[in-house]
């Protein structure tokens, strides 16, 4: 395109020379002929942009990140003149379309259709525009192009992805420990029994009573339920542009879901806390609670106004939290208040595991791992199985 523009500029300068030195009607017509090319091209492009229509359809607006969603998109010329150069640009920051040739320029005569039935994959959780971002129309001389933003962009509501961890090296020993310690302990002997209900933990089966009654009988536990595991998610938003905060937030939720799913599958109860407008909690006892837990995680909103100090203070105030044996923190940036809290927790005898979702290779001298503190750095685009 640049070469053609140079040629046009050269011709225009020649036409100026022609009308300056020769001054014949032919030279003036030569000048007008070259000068009119620009306005003619612009007029053509404007006509194309005003008349061109984009048709696209996403099968389901709600989807899960990383999961392909059927996507239909057609380029069609419904008008009575040719579209000599049409190029389609898709939203690519947070989503991509499978098998979509990038950079191809299409020539559409009246009645021509190019149809794609493919899949669209959203990379991060959140609500954002997907599909066709803009159309670039090029004129018939290949001199100028006009960018036409798609006014009817499709917005997808993307839920976080659940990655099932089979054998996470960072959680294996913790799970074993928690299973041994039994999160549900008897503080008061409970002679009460009741019939077994589907979903009850099989460890509650009272075998002797069951043998007697010839049906499953479980203990009716009374007493304090001790939460062995507490997970805290830092919901502060860092960055103003979606390209800055979406990947990290998405990965943090994936870590939460993956870790939560791992423990829920093993029947290890845990308490999830995060700061929304106020501190919210969600307790998961078993795999049965995982669906509502997933919904809870999908509804978590990050925000710039989240106050970490207030969250950590509330976290400390809840006495039950202090009784947990293990604390999992999912953060993007550690702050001094957080570091102080981890110290207090460690001094109180708890174990702390910190999942730092960041791409920066940063040393945290005050957050060095020791026997009771474990730090796992998870890059924002990492495969969780490799890091957890």
């Amino acid at each position: 395109m640049r070469i053609r523009r140079f040629i046009l500029a050269g011709l225009w300068v020649s036409s100026l020379a022609a009308i300056s030195f020769f001054g014949t009607p032919a030279s003036y017509r030569f000048f007008w002929a070259v000068t009119l090319i620009g306005p003619l091209s612009f007029f053509y492009l404007l006509t194309v942009v005003l008349r061109f229509k984009i048709y696209q359809q996403l099968e389901n607006r709600s989807c899960v990140s990383g999961q392909p969603v059927p996507y239909f998109f057609v380029l069609e010329n419904e008008d009575r003149f040719a579209f000599t150069g049409i190029r389609v640009k898709m939203f690519s920051s947070f989503s991509y379309v499978a098998d979509m040739p990038e950079g191809t320029e299409y020539q559409l005569l009246p009645g021509d259709r190019f149809v794609w039935r493919t899949n669209l994959i959203c990379k991060y959780r959140g609500e954002y525009e997907v599909g066709v971002r803009e159309i670039v129309a090029t004129d018939f001389f290949g001199l100028f192009s006009l960018h036409y933003k798609n006014p009817g962009a499709v917005k997808a509501l993307v839920s976080p992805r659940y990655i099932r961890l089979r054998n996470p090296k960072t959680l294996r020993d913790l799970a074993d420990y928690l299973l041994r310690e039994s999160p549900v302990c008897d503080t008061v002997p409970a002679p009460d029994v009741r019939d077994y209900s589907p979903g009850d933990d099989i460890r509650l089966l009272h075998w002797r009573a069951s043998a007697k009654a010839q049906k499953p009988i479980v203990r009716n536990r009374t007493g304090e339920e001790k939460h062995g595991l507490s997970i805290f998610l830092d919901t502060r938003r860092f960055g103003r542009k979606p390209q800055e905060f979406l990947p990290a937030e998405n990965k943090m939720l994936e870590v939460l879901l993956a870790v939560g799913g791992f423990f829920a599958e093993r029947g290890i109860g845990f308490l999830t806390r995060c700061m929304q407008t106020e501190m919210t909690e969600f307790y998961v006892r078993s795999a049965r609670d995982f669906e509502p837990f997933y919904q809870y995680c999908s509804d978590i909103r990050f925000g710039e106004e989240r106050d970490l100090s207030k969250a950590l203070a509330q976290l400390e105030d809840r006495r039950a939290g202090m009784d947990c044996g293990i604390f999992l923190f999912i953060l993007h940036k550690p702050e001094n208040e957080f570091l102080a809290l981890t110290e207090r927790l460690i001094r109180a005898g708890s174990c702390v595991v910190v999942y730092l979702v960041t791409d920066q290779q940063t040393d945290f001298p005050n957050l060095s791992p020791n026997g009771r503190r474990r730090i796992v750095t998870v890059p924002t685009e990492a495969q969780l199985e490799e890091f957890l």
């Binding site: 009607p25 017509r29 003619l40 007029f43 003149f81 020539q107 005569l109 018939f140």
Partner: protein, 764 residues
């Protein structure tokens, strides 16, 4: 249904026909029949297109068209005229002279028809050979360029159509070259862009043209305006010396010290522009001084604000009263526009005898402050003002005689002067004020200078024999101008402490210096003779005979002025080498007496050059009527060109074949297979086997096998179908098989219809 490609080709044909018709000078001599030209062209074009499209039907349409043409000519022209017309056309085609003298109509029709047919066939060839089309476009462009350079009067319609054709060719070429995913050929695409090119052609036809080169004066004015604005802005920035003065350089300065040495520094500081050539050189007064301490001139007493206008009016009154009819021999009124360039100053430089100053369309009487004309604020680049002043004929002896005759103003004279001031809007000056002014001058500028003995003797020798003050002043001027001009005379010695010691040193020891030294000496010597004199600094501009002058800083000068009661201040020029500059003169109408001053320059007349004589009118030769070229000659030329056109077509066809073969060899096997299959399908089409839109290749194959003679397998159709829909790439075996089957089909076609075979072979 007519395909878009055909429409595009016909449009190209029409363009070519239009170009040929307009460039071939086929204008019919009859104005009333001029409209027939495009109609005739359109008719023949449609006829040819119809024959091309319709095949057998075309012949019928052609015949019907000829019949309708015959009927319409019968209806419009009448039987006899129509018969004559058609006979003439036939005779012309056969190359024989027609019988009727009025042959232009038939001439035009036949020529139009032939050119249209020629355009049609040429376009058909060009569509067949893409490179020929490029060659044609280049030839057309070359014709336009050569025609422009040679200033040939190319017809407007032909030029417009040429540019439209070139634009179409360029666009088609670019569409075929640019990487695009497309389903159709570039020709089809171009057909759907024709409305835009029609608009382009229309605009090209209606936009104005000229016969003369374009005048870029407006651009020059714009650039000049921008340049002026930028320079004005730059020069108005507040840095540097507020008065643009650097000590030690020749330039105007508020400081009137006699420096040791000076250095030249040339800067363009202002321009002077006059409506007519100036009669004299100009002394532009800047600042005036009254007191000298031996080294520096100072201004201790400020003259009244009306002293400049009073000076001017006094001189005018004296001239008019003493030389009533010939006063213009002594004072010549003119105007001058001064524009500052690389200059920052508050001074308003003006010659002596200035009457009005026009600043920003306001005409003002000059009023001085501290003896100088000043702006309210410092001015810089772009400042412009106009002066109305009187040039003095100081180079003429008669001028000095006039001065000698001038007397101090009487009561009537003072009254007259006062009235003159009032007429200019100045408040009426009282006689007392005028008397006080005279006393001021005498007191301020006429201070007695005590001369040392040596200087006194020197002065006595110089003025020996002089009777009048003028003679004395001229003698002093002459004596000083015999000294040596030196830009670096050295610093004044410590012994110079007053006027007398300065004169002693300068006249006795040094005898050299620059303008300031000489002006100072003159003023002191004039005062010693009891004549009021003052020291002035400004610019001396060699403007005689010019209407525009650029003043440089090197023109800064110092000179003395002497007061003549009743006339005003008169400049003198004692600096060696400047005499002729300072005493320029113009020719007097009145008879001039013998020369009084050796410094007087020979009077030269400043008469505007006579207007150039207008060239005699040349009579144009009578316009001879243009006779159209004889048709047989045109036909002969066409007949001579025809073999070359045929040869060219054959050559181009041959080259095209070779190029296509080379291109084919470079293709990959899959692309070659595609190429073969296209020919394969064309062959089948020539054998009247065409695949319908909703038919699969398998079905088509079955249908074709049933219709064609035995021995055909058409396996390549299966391979083609597999490649299109099953992504099964054809190998070299498949390619070879396709070639063999194609050859078989070709032999079959040759047996079945030789004409179709030739047509297929020509198409390639």
């Amino acid at each position: 249904m007519i395909s878009p490609v055909r429409v595009y080709q016909w449009c190209n044909t029409a363009l070519l026909a239009g170009i040929f018709l307009s460039l071939a000078d086929n204008a019919l001599p009859f104005d009333t029949a001029a409209a027939l030209c495009p109609l005739t062209c359109a008719f023949f074009l449609l006829l040819l297109i119809g024959i091309q499209c319709a095949g057998k039907k075309g012949y019928i349409i052609g015949a019907a068209s000829l019949l309708s043409l015959g009927v319409s000519s019968l209806a419009f022209l009448g039987p006899a005229a129509a018969f004559s017309l058609w006979t003439d056309c036939l005779l012309r085609i056969l190359g024989r002279a027609p019988s009727l003298p009025e042959t232009s109509l038939s001439d035009g029709i036949v020529r139009t028809a032939l050119l249209t047919a020629g355009a049609f066939f040429i376009q058909a060839i060009l569509e067949r050979f893409c490179k020929a089309k490029a060659v044609m476009a280049l030839l057309l462009a070359a014709c336009l360029v050569l025609g422009t350079i040679a200033k040939v009067n190319l017809p407007g319609a032909g030029v417009c159509l040429s540019f439209v054709y070139l634009a179409l060719v360029c666009a088609q070429y670019l569409q075929s070259r640019l990487p695009r995913k497309r389903k159709h050929s570039p020709g089809q695409c171009m057909a759907w862009l024709l409305p835009f090119f029609a608009l382009y052609g229309l605009l090209l036809a209606v936009l104005p043209t000229r016969d003369v080169p374009y005048d870029w004066q407006w651009m020059q004015t714009l650039c000049e305006t921008v340049r002026e604005s930028v320079l004005t802005a730059v020069h108005s920035l507040p840095f540097g010396n507020p008065e643009d003065f650097t000590a030690g350089y020749t330039d105007f300065s508020q400081n009137a010290s006699l420096l040791g040495n000076i250095e030249k520094k040339e800067r363009e500081i202002m321009t002077l522009q006059a409506p007519r050539k100036l009669y004299t050189n100009l002394y532009l007064t800047g600042d005036i001084y009254d007191t000298f301490d031996g080294r520096t001139w100072l201004q201790k007493s400020a003259p009244p604000s009306y002293d400049r206008i009073l000076d001017t009016l006094s001189a005018l009154q004296a001239c008019k009263s003493l030389r009533e009819s010939y006063w213009t021999d002594y004072l010549h009124q003119t105007s001058l526009t001064i524009r500052y360039l690389d200059f920052r100053t508050r001074y308003l430089f003006a010659p002596s005898k200035t009457q009005t100053v026009t600043l920003q369309d306001r005409s003002l009487v000059p009023r001085t402050q501290q003896g100088r004309l000043e702006f309210e604020k410092r001015k810089s680049y772009g400042t412009e003002y106009t002066l109305d002043f009187y040039q003095m004929n100081t180079g003429q002896d008669a001028f000095y005689r006039l001065l000698e005759e001038t007397m101090p103003l009487s009561a009537d004279g003072q009254k007259q002067l006062s009235d003159s001031c009032a007429s200019l809007g100045i408040r009426e000056l009282s006689l007392q004020e005028l008397s006080d002014y005279q006393a001021f001058i005498k007191e301020t500028y006429g201070q007695t200078v005590p001369l040392p003995v040596s200087v006194s003797h020197w002065l006595s020798e110089v003025t020996d024999g002089c009777e009048t003050d003028m003679e004395k002043l001229l003698a002093i001027e002459q004596a000083l101008s015999s000294y040596t001009y030196h830009a670096a005379p050295g610093a004044l010695p410590a012994s110079v402490t007053d006027e007398g010691s300065f004169l002693t040193y300068f006249l006795g020891e040094s005898r050299q210096g620059y303008c300031a030294h000489f002006a100072s000496a003159f003023v002191l010597l004039a005062r010693a003779e009891g004549i009021p004199a003052r020291y002035v600094q400004g610019y001396l501009v060699a403007a005689k005979g010019k209407t525009k002058v650029t003043v440089t800083s090197g023109m800064a000068h110092a000179w003395p002025e002497v007061y003549v009661a009743g006339f005003g201040w008169i400049p003198f020029e004692p600096t060696p080498g400047y005499g002729r500059l300072g005493h320029a003169a113009w020719q007097m109408r009145q008879e001039t007496p013998k020369s009084l001053s050796p410094n007087a320059a020979p009077a030269t007349s400043v008469v505007p050059a006579p207007a150039p004589a207008s060239p005699p009118e040349q009579s144009l030769p009578p316009e001879t009527p243009k006779t159209p070229a004889a048709l047989p000659g045109f036909l002969r030329r066409f007949a001579m060109l025809l073999p070359f056109l045929i040869l060219l077509s054959v050559l181009l066809w041959f080259l095209e074949k070779k190029a296509a073969a080379l291109t084919y060899r470079k293709l990959s096997p899959q692309e070659q297979f595609l190429h073969e299959m296209r020919r394969y399908l064309r062959l089948l089409s020539a054998l009247s086997q065409q695949r319908k839109e909703n038919e699969t290749f398998a079905q088509f194959r079955q249908k074709a096998l049933a219709a064609l003679p035995d021995g055909q397998t058409l396996q390549s159709l299966i391979a083609y179908e597999e490649w299109l829909y099953a992504d099964k790439l054809p190998g070299t075996d498949t390619l070879q098989k396709a070639r063999e089957e194609k050859e078989t089909l070709l032999c079959l076609l040759k047996q079945k219809s030789r004409w179709k075979y030739i047509r297929y072979w020509l198409q390639g």
